[in-house]
């Protein structure tokens, strides 16, 4: 469904050029939940931006359903890490979620239904007419997720969406994403620097090297569904996989240049 072929990205030109991504290739199949982990500063966000059409890759191609991406496609929803800046403070929750739907061919009733369903699925029904700044950080990120869902994307790209919420909220949001993914039948590509999160959420985990980035390893996660914050994380398979990825990332990253 989504295919990354020999993708490379270099910032700047000449001697000052920095190679963020060297050569990355992988596939995401329909309905899959794929997590991308790598050491900090390894170009995960750059990769995701190239995949969403926000950024033009320097080399290689990104194909969505066999067609090359050269701008944000309609089938892609995006959840930013900076929820407070991605939601528009002059719009209520309802208006924020409805904004991307305005140019879709929908009747007024359909649009309202999409918005209300999405708000319901993230558990914010009572807050639909609040403003984002009246909500907590975790709730704001729920609004951003609802906005992406109401857009009815085939694939949802998430850029470290839970990096700036507290641990408890984070666990809740992880389970929320797993639930809505099933409910909406959406394919998810989830970028994170948190190894536990990647293993807990993913059907597959793509481990990246530090910059210039390459794919280090692609792992199938063979943990029972549905995942559970306590039981899944207790399993020896979970611990084993987590340790495996941890070593892979640490070994590849020289200690003195840890950024």
């Amino acid at each position: 469904m989504l295919e990354v072929m020999g993708l490379g990205k270099t910032y700047g030109e000449g001697e000052r050029a920095t190679r963020a991504i060297a050569d990355v290739s992988f596939k995401v199949d329909e309905g899959e939940f794929v997590c991308v982990v790598g050491p900090s500063g390894c170009g995960k966000t750059t990769l995701l931006r190239c995949m969403s059409g926000l950024l033009q890759p320097s080399a290689g191609r990104v194909l969505l359903d066999g067609r090359q991406i050269d701008g944000p496609p309609e089938q892609v929803g995006f959840v930013f890490q900076e929820y407070s800046r991605s939601l528009l403070p002059w719009m209520s929750v309802r208006e924020n979620i409805a904004l991307p739907l305005r140019h879709k061919r929908l009747t007024k009733n359909e649009r309202a239904r999409h918005v209300e369903e999405a708000v319901g699925s993230v558990g914010l029904t009572g807050f639909i007419d609040h403003y984002p700044w009246e909500l907590s950080g975790g709730m704001q990120q729920r609004v951003a997720i609802a906005r992406a869902l109401a857009y009815q994307p085939e694939i949802l790209l998430m850029d470290e969406p839970f990096a700036s919420v507290d641990a408890q909220t984070r666990a809740d949001l992880e389970d929320l994403v797993l639930r809505v993914r099933t409910a909406y039948g959406v394919t998810v590509l989830f970028v994170t620097h948190d190894i536990d999160e990647a293993v807990y959420l993913g059907d597959r985990v793509i481990v990246l090297t530090s910059a210039p980035t390459q794919v280090h390893e692609i792992l199938e996660v063979d943990l029972p569904e549905p995942r559970d914050q306590v039981e899944t994380k207790e399993l020896p398979e979970f611990t084993h996989m987590r340790a495996h990825i941890f070593r892979a990332i640490k070994r590849r990253q020289p200690a003195e240049t840890a950024t």
């Binding site: 969403s52 926000l54 944000p72 309609e74 892609v76 929803g77 995006f78 930013f80 900076e82 407070s84 800046r85 991605s86 528009l88 403070p89 002059w90 719009m91 904004l99 991307p100 305005r102 140019h103 403003y131 984002p132 700044w133 009246e134 906005r147 857009y151």
Partner: protein
């Protein structure tokens, strides 16, 4: 500010200090016996005789119409223009030297030219007010449009919000706090230029009235004009602040929550 007693005290002070100043003026001017500073009681009596409501149609209304028209034209021109300049680096680069130069000309210096070309009527006065009000709104619009948060613009791109929709729902609201700041500055300038333009060439208007009273040694009348102008400026600002509070309610809320 959380302490209610302290708040009540502050409000009392806010009322009490101006009242004390007026009282002091009253007492001092009552015995001053100065031709230039007539007793406040006399000024107020003249104020009632002059402005309630005899000269309102003749002087106040024309003045306010000029001010309103000039201000409205300035806003209507500078928001679209500022948007274009803010969005396009090329256009901005090309026009920046011209803008900086024209802006540096002291507005009253344009009066002789304006009288020459537009005559001494309302058109000239509205033109002068509009030219002066243009700059604060224009520069603030440019800045506001340029400064829209990067993540917001990327959000608009990802969700394919484009064209006029992008302007109306994303760019303009984001720039609005700054545009309003420019408009507030412009409003004060509008009042100043209204008075100046009416003093130079006019047969009606509050500025004309003040100058005319001075020339015919009607000193209390002159003072009533000055008081009226102060009052108008105060009310205009208060009215504007009221509109701003309503329109930018989200801005105050968002800022307050960001500071927590």
């Amino acid at each position: 500010m959380r302490n209610p007693l302290r708040r009540v005290l502050l409000i009392l002070l806010e009322v009490a200090v101006p009242a004390a100043v007026v009282a002091a003026w009253w007492v001092w001017s009552a015995n001053a016996d100065s031709f230039y500073f007539p007793p406040l009681a006399e000024i107020l009596r003249t104020f009632a005789d002059t402005w309630v409501f005899e000269r309102v149609g003749n002087d106040v209304v024309p003045s306010l119409v000029r001010l309103g028209a000039g201000f409205a034209i300035a806003v209507a021109v500078s928001i679209p223009l500022g948007t274009v300049l803010g969005l396009s680096t090329v256009v901005r680069r090309v026009s920046e030297p011209i803008i900086e130069f024209v802006r540096a000309i002291p507005p009253p210096a344009l009066l002789p030219f304006a009288i020459l070309v537009l005559g001494v009527g309302d058109t000239m006065k509205i033109f002068i007010i509009a030219v002066v009000c243009l700059w604060p709104v224009l520069l603030n619009t440019i800045d506001g449009v340029r400064g829209v948060d990067h993540t917001m613009l990327e959000t608009a791109r990802v969700y394919r919000v484009r064209g006029l929709e992008r302007l109306r729902r994303v760019v303009w609201p984001a720039a609005l706090p700054q545009i309003f700041a420019g408009m507030r500055t412009s409003l004060s300038l509008a009042l100043i230029l209204m008075v100046i333009s009416e003093m130079v060439a006019s047969t009606r208007g509050i500025g004309y009235f003040v100058l005319q009273s001075q020339r015919s040694f009607d000193i209390p009348e002159m003072w009533t004009g000055i008081l009226l102008l102060g009052l108008l400026g105060y009310l205009l600002n208060a009215g504007f602040a009221l509109v701003e509070r309503r329109v930018l309610r989200w801005h105050r809320g968002a800022r307050a929550s960001a500071l927590q």
